[in-house]
Structure formats: structure tokens, C-alpha cells
């Protein structure tokens, strides 16, 4: 009964060879701590690659290597055909850190102006529409902003110069649902313009919605990779309900978002892709005694794929 829903909004995977980011056997150690162990990753133009993993998996380390903040211990790392620290490369990269710090005594408008000037972005006109879309009040002091709003400011800075490669570290963390949708829309638009996007998250459903490919990291190692239809199923939620009476036949047939469902007496289990509003409306007309939502997410993915994969393990090992 399960159906795979093809998502027309999902950016297409990049053509091989159009690499914007090329990491091969990338290793990063901090003393005796191994943060990344021979991780390989390619990101092409127009491609959204999800980086998925629990805290400490190595997602942030990988992104910080790609933006030149960290020097890889070994392996190869090329960004836009150059070194990650090259200023001309970084001028074409947009980076959203996991915890963006902004000068607290500056108003958002002044801060955006100074940072875009620092980048040499001539088209400051792009900043205002981005702020408007993210509902960012530019008159406020940066120090008074919530975590979510600081993230929005950093996102504007990451997007304003229309980067060829976008590195986003948990971009929707701390955002309200409206802002979250807007961020996802901005990522899709960037990919449609031809930018490569690396989207780090520990929320598989969110990444599965956006990405054409997901690389799962665990303990600094790439443990799995999902693409295409294999990815679509991971964006679902499993909703289990117990009704007061046995479930009627065809109870959830044709309900928008429900891609699969089954009933066993009073117990109903539905797989939902996307919004659950339609399902909830149907359930409201029944006497629901309990409801349990399970994200078909990260833990299950990692459980099933705890074996290291090195897509480019045959590449020659060299210093970045």
C-alpha cells in the first residue's frame, strides 16, 4: 500500500563533474579526537545535499573545513576549484554558522550594511527583500535579537551575494514554522539558480524534503547515503492512533498527505508525507483515545546504515 510520492519541488541532482565542492578522504583530528574520518563528498551545481547526523557527528566540522575555518588533517578539499581559504573562492560562498554571533550594539540595518560592504556586494538592494521575506525587523539592535532572528540575519548575509555554493549549518534551528518554510523556499530558489547547497541538520524529515541527496554522518564517519526515491520515504511521519471503535474501511483513503496506512481493529497506523492537517481533520471526526507521532528519522536511518561509506575512497590521499 505504501506509495512513493514524487516531489516536483525537489531540486534535481547535479550532473557528474560539475562539482562545486569536492572532498575526498577528508580527515580532521583535534589532538586525539577524530572529528572527521575519511569523509568524501561531492556537491554539484543546482544540487542540495543534506548532511545528516546527531550532535557531534562531524557536520559542523565538515562545513567549517569547507569555509576555511579549519585546516583538514589529511585528504583533499576543493571548493569552487580552489582552496577553501582563497578569498576569491570565499567571495562566492555563502555560509551560515550553527550559532551566528552578531555585534550586539549594532542595529541590524547597520550590521547588514557593514558586512555586505565588507564583502563588496554592490547589489545591497537584495538585502531588503530578503529581510522582508524573513520578517526581519532591521531597526532592532542585534544584541536584542532571539537566536532565530540572529540566524535570519546571518542567512541574509549568506544569501545576499548570490553565492555559487551555500553552506548552511542547521539553518532552521530555532525558527518558527513560517520562517522555516521561507528558508526552505530560499534554499530551493538558490538551487534553481544553479547554486550548490550543503544543508546540515539532524532532522531527517526536513532534509528529505529539500535535498536531492543525503549523506549521513555518525562519529565523524559517513555511514550512509540516500538519493532519489530512497530518500523520499525518509521524510515521512508515522502516526499511530487507537480509536474507541474499530476503524471503518477506507477510513484514510484519499486523505492528502497520507501515503500509506493500515488498520488492525482499533489501531490505525498512517505514513504521512508533508503537512498532517488533512489527516487530523479526518481523525477529529472519530473518537481517538491515543495518538503517537514518530519521526521516521535519523535514528532509524543510522541504525540501518552503520557501515562506513567512502564514495571516493579510491582517490589519492593528499594534503588539502
Amino acid at each position: 500500500m505504501a506509495t512513493v510520492v514524487s516531489d516536483p519541488t525537489r531540486p534535481a541532482a547535479a550532473a557528474p563533474g560539475s562539482g562545486l565542492l569536492h572532498a575526498s578522504a577528508l580527515t580532521k583530528r583535534f589532538g586525539s579526537v577524530v572529528a572527521l574520518e575519511r569523509v568524501s563528498l561531492q556537491v554539484g551545481a543546482g544540487e542540495v545535499v543534506g548532511l545528516l547526523g546527531p550532535n557531534g557527528a562531524g557536520k559542523t566540522t565538515l562545513l567549517r573545513c569547507a569555509v576555511g575555518h579549519l585546516r583538514p588533517t589529511s585528504g583533499t578539499l576543493r571548493v569552487l576549484d580552489g582552496g577553501p581559504g582563497d578569498p576569491s573562492v570565499r567571495s562566492a560562498v555563502g555560509y551560515l554558522p550553527a550559532d551566528p554571533h552578531l555585534e550586539p550594539r549594532l542595529r541590524v540595518s547597520a550590521l547588514l550594511d557593514l558586512y555586505t560592504r565588507l564583502r563588496g556586494v554592490e547589489e545591497r538592494a537584495r538585502v531588503a527583500p530578503l529581510c522582508e521575506r524573513l520578517h526581519l525587523d532591521v531597526r532592532r539592535l542585534a544584541g536584542d535579537l532571539s537566536t532565530g532572528n540572529r540566524r535570519k540575519v546571518a542567512l541574509v548575509l549568506a544569501l545576499a551575494h548570490r553565492p555559487r555554493l551555500l553552506l548552511l549549518d542547521e539553518p532552521t534551528s530555532g525558527l518558527d514554522p513560517g520562517a522555516r518554510s521561507e528558508v526552505e523556499a530560499l534554499v530551493r530558489e538558490a538551487a534553481e539558480r544553479g547554486a550548490g547547497v550543503v544543508y546540515s541538520s539532524h532532522d531527517l524529515a526536513e532534509v528529505a524534503e529539500l535535498a536531492s541527496r543525503v549523506v549521513a554522518l555518525d562519529g565523524g564517519t559517513a555511514v550512509g547515503e540516500l538519493t532519489g526515491d530512497g530518500l523520499a520515504g525518509w521524510g515521512r511521519q508515522r502516526i499511530a492512533v487507537r480509536l474507541a471503535d474499530p476503524a471503518p474501511p477506507a477510513m484514510l483513503d484519499g486523505v492528502p498527505g497520507v501515503v500509506a496506512w493500515s488498520a488492525d481493529g482499533r489501531d490505525v497506523v498512517a505514513q504521512v508525507q508533508g503537512p498532517v492537517a488533512a489527516l487530523l481533520r479526518v481523525l477529529a471526526s472519530h473518537d481517538v483515545q491515543s495518538l503517537q507521532v514518530t519521526d521516521t528519522g535519523l535514528a532509524r536511518l543510522l541504525e540501518g546504515q552503520r557501515r562506513p561509506v567512502h564514495a571516493a575512497a579510491s582517490a589519492p590521499r593528499s594534503s588539502a
Binding site: H69, G85, P87, P100, L118
Partner: protein
Amino acid sequence: MSAQVLPLLFHQRWRSTAWWVVGVVATTLLVTLSYPSIAASAAAIDAYGRSLPLGLQRALGAAGGMASPAGYLDTKLFASTLPLLMSVLAIGTGTWVVAGSEGAGELELLLAGPLTRRRLVWGRALGTAAVVAVVAGSSAGALQLTLAPAGLDTGLAPGSTWLAAASTSAAALVFGALALAVGAATGRRGVAIGTAAAVLAGTWLLHGLVGTLALAGALRCVLPWTWASEGDPLSSGSSATWWWESLLLPLAVSAVLVAFGVAAFERRDLH
């Protein structure tokens, strides 16, 4: 190099710089406006100054006599108060350039763009020099305005207060540059401040012992406060010794320290 960095630096530092100007100008005015009451006891003060050990006289700037305008300004302002204030300012600002800013997480976004670490550090180092110069200059300006009303305008070389402020700034910048370099190399704010403060205290102590301790005399070539006092700008004005030893030498040493900091910063991870 610094054109892109300075506007942001101005926004980040103007408030603290303004407060420093207020504090240093107030200290300067307190010193100059106290002179008329001190001048009446000039002979007794000089006798007391001469009774101090030579090293202490040097450290306090009292070797030339405390009652003359030049001696008074040297003792009360340029030998200890202003150098220490400028050193604290320079060390604080120099630490902020990399280690303080890095510890606060500011560099994560700032260095994600085309701005290089080299341009950031050199731009901010110039900004640090400008901050120290503005604060020391405001002290010299306040001094200039109050010399005549306070009766301190006799026996001073022309423009001498500006020269003294410049050499004080240059010597203080050595410690600021040291804090910057250590902070850039380690990324640790506490280590940067601690190292610069320890070197400041050690060199200050040795500076006081030059002339009384053979070792201190032998080490005078590495004592910034000895360089600053050698030119004696208050009495002698601008001289070759002042230019080379009191101004250009500390600036050159500061530049070398910043260059070392840049090189170390470019070779390490951003914390």
C-alpha cells in the same frame, strides 16, 4: 588593506574609545590643575624626590626634579600614569583583535567572506594604533589647553606634550602588539592578556632599575619604557634620539609582532 575593516572597527570600538578619552582627559586635567598647589612646595618636593633610590626616581620620572613643569609632567603623567593607562588600553584592544573577537564568536561570520585573516589583523592593528593615538592625543590636547592657566608653560620644548604623548603611545603599542600576537597565535584571551601584562610588569621593573642594576642596563635595548624616556621630549623636544628610539623603534617592534601574529593566525584553526 584596512578600508573594508575600519568602518566595522569604528562601530565596534567608538564607545569604549570615547570612555577612554573621557577618563584620560579627566586624569590629565586633574594633574595639570593640581600644579599650582604643588609648585608652592617645589623645593621640599624636589628634596623628597632626590631622597628616593635612583631606580625609583627613574621609574617615577622624578630624576630631573619634580617641581619644574617638565619634571612635574614627567613625574605625574608621562613616567607612570599615562604609560600604564595606554598600556592597559593597548593590551585590551590588541587582545580583542583576534583572541577576544574569536572567543566571542565574531570571526565565524566575519572570516566566512572574502576578507582574509591577514587583512583583518592588519586592519584591526592599525585601528588599535589609531585608538591609542586618539586617546593619548586627547590627553596631550587637554594638556596643551591647560598648560598656561596652570602655570606649566615655562621650560617646555615646543610641541613637547604631543611628542611625549606620541612616544608613550608607541611604547604602549609594543605591549598591545604583543597581546595581539599571542592572541592570534593561541586564540586564548587570557593567555594574551596574561603574557602581555607579565611582560609589561617585568620590563617596567627593569626600566626602573636601569642605571642601578647592571643587568637592567644591559637589557635596556628590550625595554620599551626606557626607549620612550630616552628622547626626553618634554625638555629636548624633537631629536634624532626621540625619532629613532622613542618612536620608530617601538613602532617597528610592534609591526614585527603583528606580522608574527598574522603568520601564526594563518596557520591555525579558528576556534
